[in-house]
């Protein structure tokens, strides 16, 4: 809202149709004011898209919120946010080259870090959320890059990627929530054998994971050169996202489901209706995934003509995702327990680092600031209390003085004044 208010204050309109033509012609416009607006808008959209580091609201709520609510939030808001970003791209592009480079760099970092964090740790819903966040960051980079290099030409491919991602992300969350509830655990190490015991949920999870892993391919093929530095960075993120998406399926679906305290593996069953929403969402995601590769779909979305990229471009980015799937499958085939132990170990270190980071933020930022507020909150009543006591005392003194006999008091004051004057006079001091 600050970004919109900033633009409104400078241009007197919040209507994009009237705002965009006057971005560089309105009296008093400056690049600096556009940069401020763009940064504010990007932060706002980044928060809504849950781009790293604004992703903690998703990762920390996804484990405790109801699965359906979390699925809706993650899928719907990512679509809303990415469409908003796409519509504001002309404003982004009108700022300056340096700002766009910084934003593209931020998107790339967000994509890589989110995808890497998705591989660390064994909380499956958090992993789904972070994998989705990585793909959204890739799409955001494609949109900004598309507006920058070829004005608004391929940005829509980023929107198409998120349209494919959103249902798959929701389906994956619902499927893994069902599995986690049935197995009564949030730890991938303790899950297993879902392919045999909960085939429907496990199958839906597989479909959704594949769609998530592949969802960025179309956007990258349309809007990113695999030879650019940004392309390499986003490719790395896509690779990690593919690993992160599929490893949840492998961990939950294969390997032994061990007996634990108050948990009997034989009682794990597929709940009724498992062939419902997760499957349909996976199917919708797959349809949108296929559509995101077809120029006609992009033409339909933004109403302009898009040339088809070379088949090699599709092949390169699809190969990245498939390589990611293979890289995920290999350690799980070799040693599932070893792979999960490694992610658990790294996840525990990540958890410790996060705790230390938050402790540091609390110690060096939050605690001093709140302590100042607390001290001020205590000091002001103490101060006005002292003022009140002082007023009472002076009032009592005044009453006492009023009751005192006048003549002796006047004589005493005169004597005191005479002494003061005598000591202060020149001559005495010498």
């Amino acid at each position: 809202m600050s970004g919109i208010a900033w633009l409104y204050a400078r241009y007197g309109t919040q209507n994009l149709n009237t705002l965009l033509p006057i971005l560089h012609t309105n009296p008093g416009w400056t690049v600096r004011s556009l940069v401020v607006a763009v940064v504010l808008l990007f932060i706002g959209i980044g928060g809504r898209l849950a781009l790293w580091p604004f992703s903690s609201w998703v990762t920390q709520t996804v484990t405790s919120a109801p699965g359906a609510a979390s699925a809706i939030v993650q899928s719907v808001w990512s679509v809303v946010g990415i469409v908003f970003l796409y519509r504001l791209t002309p404003i982004f592009v009108s700022s300056n080259q340096r700002t766009l480079q910084v934003l593209l760099g931020a998107c790339a970092v967000a994509a890589i870090v989110a995808a890497a964090l998705a591989i660390l740790g064994n909380e499956p819903r958090r992993a789904v959320a972070l994998t989705g966040s990585a793909v959204v960051a890739i799409a955001a980079a494609v949109i900004i890059n598309g507006g920058y290099h070829r004005p608004a030409a391929f940005g829509i491919a980023g929107v198409a990627a998120v349209l494919a991602l959103a249902p798959a992300r929701a389906g994956a969350l619902l499927a893994i929530s069902t599995i986690a509830n049935a197995m009564r655990t949030d730890d991938l190490v303790e899950m297993g054998d879902a392919w045999r015991r909960m085939r429907a949920s496990s199958g839906a999870l597989l479909a959704c994971a594949i769609v998530i892993g592949l969802s960025a391919c179309g956007a990258l093929a349309y809007g990113m050169s695999s030879r650019s530095k940004l392309g390499v960075a986003l490719g790395e993120a896509a690779l990690l996202a593919a690993i992160g998406a599929l490893r949840i399926y492998f961990a939950a679906s294969f390997g032994p489901l061990r007996r634990r305290r108050a948990f009997d593996p034989d009682r794990v069953r597929e709940p009724q209706g498992a062939l419902g929403w997760p499957y349909w969402l996976g199917v919708v995601g797959a349809v949108f995934l296929v559509a995101s590769l077809i120029p006609g779909w992009l033409n339909l979305l933004d109403g302009s003509k898009h040339p088809t990229p070379s088949p090699a471009a599709f092949a390169v980015w699809a190969a990245v995702a498939i390589l990611g799937f293979a890289a995920c499958a290999f350690p799980f085939v070799r040693s599932r327990d070893g792979a999960l132990a490694a992610t658990a170990f790294s996840g525990s270190w990540l958890g410790r680092a996060t705790v230390m980071l938050f402790a540091a933020v609390d110690r060096f930022l939050v605690a001093p600031a709140t302590d100042i507020a607390r001290r001020v909150g205590d000091w002001i009543p103490a101060g006005d209390g002292a003022l009140g006591r002082f007023t009472t005392t002076t009032g009592q003194l005044a009453i006492t003085a009023a009751r005192a006999p006048a003549l002796p008091v006047v004589l005493l004051i005169a004597l005191l004044l005479a002494l003061v004057l005598a000591f202060a006079a020149p001559g005495i001091a010498r």
């Binding site: 809202m1 600050s2 919109i4 208010a5 900033w6 409104y8 204050a9 400078r10 241009y11 007197g12 309109t13 919040q14 209507n15 009237t18 006057i22 012609t25 309105n26 009296p27 008093g28 416009w29 939050v366 600031a369 709140t370 302590d371 100042i372 507020a373 607390r374 001020v376 909150g377 002001i380 009543p381 101060g383 006005d384 209390g385 009140g388």
Partner: protein, 537 residues
């Protein structure tokens, strides 16, 4: 048409509401002041042996307030929003030797304040239904407090305004002393001290204004229209800012707010946090913005800084507060700062935002402070270290607490969203640093609210905590009334219309009605804004 377009379109030339102006009364505003006074006096004198008629006393207080709201509703519906002048005016000579007249009247902002006062009046009576001791004097004092607040709102004479402004302190302080919590004496004295300081500052400002305007009349039509030199404007405005800062309150003159809102009974909390506090911003609007444009321009950065400091301080203090009522008290400071930011914008949109904020901010502050007080009473504990996981056990309070939090933050569908949009859109043009700082402070407030909600409502239940019960019917109604008003104005800022027509169903729309007089007030601050029209030339 977007919400903002609706709002901005409504501000300069509101459409006349069909059916307005059919009814007029020569003493409508006097009724709002003197009916509660008469009923209060009657309550004070009716015999009530051993509390036999306690229920009757409560019913009388409730129906008095209901009647006042009914009168107010007629006044609101018949209000002619296309007139820039005062309406329902009453003018009688009182002390001609010094130029004091009994002059009452309201414009858009006054109407907004009266509506707030009416709603918080009913809410405070409903919140007080649980009072068991000394029922007669309690409700008599509550009615007197409301009468004095109404009087200050409708007064068009500085002397009368000063009288009502100062008079509101006495019943509220007595209510706190008589029915407050363990630290009630200290809280009451703090209220008297700070509000007394504000009254003294207001008296200084009013007398300076009187002298500078020729020393013949206290009538606002005279003193607020006198052309004063910027230096005199500055002096008077600084006194007014001190007076307003003690009421709203603004940092650093907020010393009363924690103790008063934490120790007073819920009914008094609603009255103080709702309408009584908003009088501070109303004063700034009337005197600083309405009459002293030179001083307003000079002091607007100071106002923006005060707003930013208040929001930041309130958020941080609420984040650290252990006592839930202290947290509620700090959070109730936030809407006042938003109002002041709108005034600091010294632009038509910002001023319109701050007028709407008088209503929404008063409701939001009363709601958050009231819900914290009710929760503490129902949970029999005030420490957030003890409270936990209350949502399943007190669902009504949990819902209302959540709405209060959302109202403070200005989320869409609630009236405070429109307020914040207008205020920030106005403020970013003229006070960008202040607006950024307030936005950052709102971020801290959001964190404080999230922590509070997570810990108290949605955290793990504490098995060692005392027994918990949900809000009673009266408590649910008073909180629901405040939340409902926020929702109603948020959903229908322009009022619901008969389908297919522009004829209002029964509510002409607060955003339309409040516009009367704003364009006049904001006319000195109209800038030649760069925009599409300017660009095309």
């Amino acid at each position: 048409m977007t919400l903002l377009q609706t709002i901005t379109a409504a501000t300069p030339s509101p459409p006349p509401a069909p059916g307005a102006g059919l009814f007029t009364s020569p003493f409508l505003l006097s009724l709002l002041i003197w009916v509660p006074v008469i009923v209060a006096v009657a309550l004070a004198f009716i015999p009530n042996p051993r509390g036999r008629y306690d229920v009757l006393v409560k019913q009388i207080a409730f129906f008095t307030n209901l009647g006042l709201v009914f009168i107010l509703f007629i006044g609101y519906n018949q209000f002619e929003n296309f007139l820039p002048t005062m309406q329902y005016e009453e003018k009688l000579p009182w002390l001609p030797a010094i130029g004091v007249t009994y002059h009452l009247g309201i414009d858009g902002p006054g109407l907004v304040m009266l509506l707030l006062s009416g709603l918080t009046g009913i809410a405070s009576v409903l919140a007080s239904l649980g009072i068991r001791e000394r029922v007669r004097p309690y409700f008599a004092l509550l009615l007197l407090a409301q009468a004095s607040i109404n009087g200050a709102i409708v007064a068009r004479d500085m002397f009368v305004f000063l009288l009502f402004w100062g008079a509101s302190i006495v019943p509220l302080a007595l209510l706190i002393i008589g029915w407050g919590g363990p630290r009630r004496i200290s809280a009451a004295w703090r209220l008297v001290g700070y509000w007394g300081l504000g009254t003294a500052a207001l008296a200084v400002g009013a007398l300076a204004l009187y002298a500078a305007a020729g020393g013949r009349s206290f009538d606002m039509d005279t003193v607020l229209k006198a052309s004063l030199s910027p230096r005199i404007q500055l002096g008077i405005s600084m006194a007014m800012i001190v007076a307003a800062a003690t009421r709203l309150p603004l940092f650093p003159l907020h010393g009363w707010v924690r103790d008063v809102l934490a120790e007073a009974p819920p009914g008094v909390v609603v009255a103080v946090a709702g309408a009584a506090s908003r009088l501070g911003a109303f004063l700034l609007l009337r005197v600083l913005i309405g009459a002293e444009p030179a001083a307003a321009h000079l002091l607007s950065p100071v106002l923006a800084a005060l707003a930013a400091l208040t929001v930041g301080y309130a958020g941080l203090a609420a984040l650290r507060a252990i006592d839930i009522r202290h947290a509620g008290a700090y959070l109730a400071m936030v809407p006042g700062a938003i109002t002041v930011l709108g005034l600091a914008a010294v632009s038509p949109l910002g001023i319109a935002g701050s007028v709407l904020s008088l209503f929404t901010g008063g409701l939001a502050a009363a709601l958050i402070a009231g819900v914290c007080a009710t929760l503490a009473e129902r949970a029999q504990a005030r420490s957030v270290l003890v409270l936990g996981g209350l949502a399943p056990r007190m669902p009504n309070v949990a819902w209302l607490f959540t709405i209060a939090a959302l109202a403070l933050l200005g989320v869409p569908l609630l009236a405070s969203f429109g307020t914040e949009v207008m205020t920030f859109f106005g403020a970013f043009k003229t006070q960008p640093i202040g607006a950024f700082a307030v936005a950052a402070g709102l971020g801290v407030t959001a964190v404080a609210l999230a922590v509070l909600l997570a810990r108290v409502l949605f955290g793990g239940p504490n098995p060692d905590a005392p027994g918990v019960s949900d809000a009673s019917l009266g408590e649910t109604w008073y909180l629901g009334l405040l939340a409902g008003a926020l929702l109603w104005v948020g959903l229908f800022p322009g009022g619901p219309k008969i389908p297919g027509t522009e004829v209002p169903l029964f509510d002409p729309g607060l955003i339309n009605q409040m516009a009367a007089g704003i364009s006049d007030m904001a006319s000195p601050y109209v800038l030649q804004a760069p925009g599409p029209a300017a660009a095309s030339q």
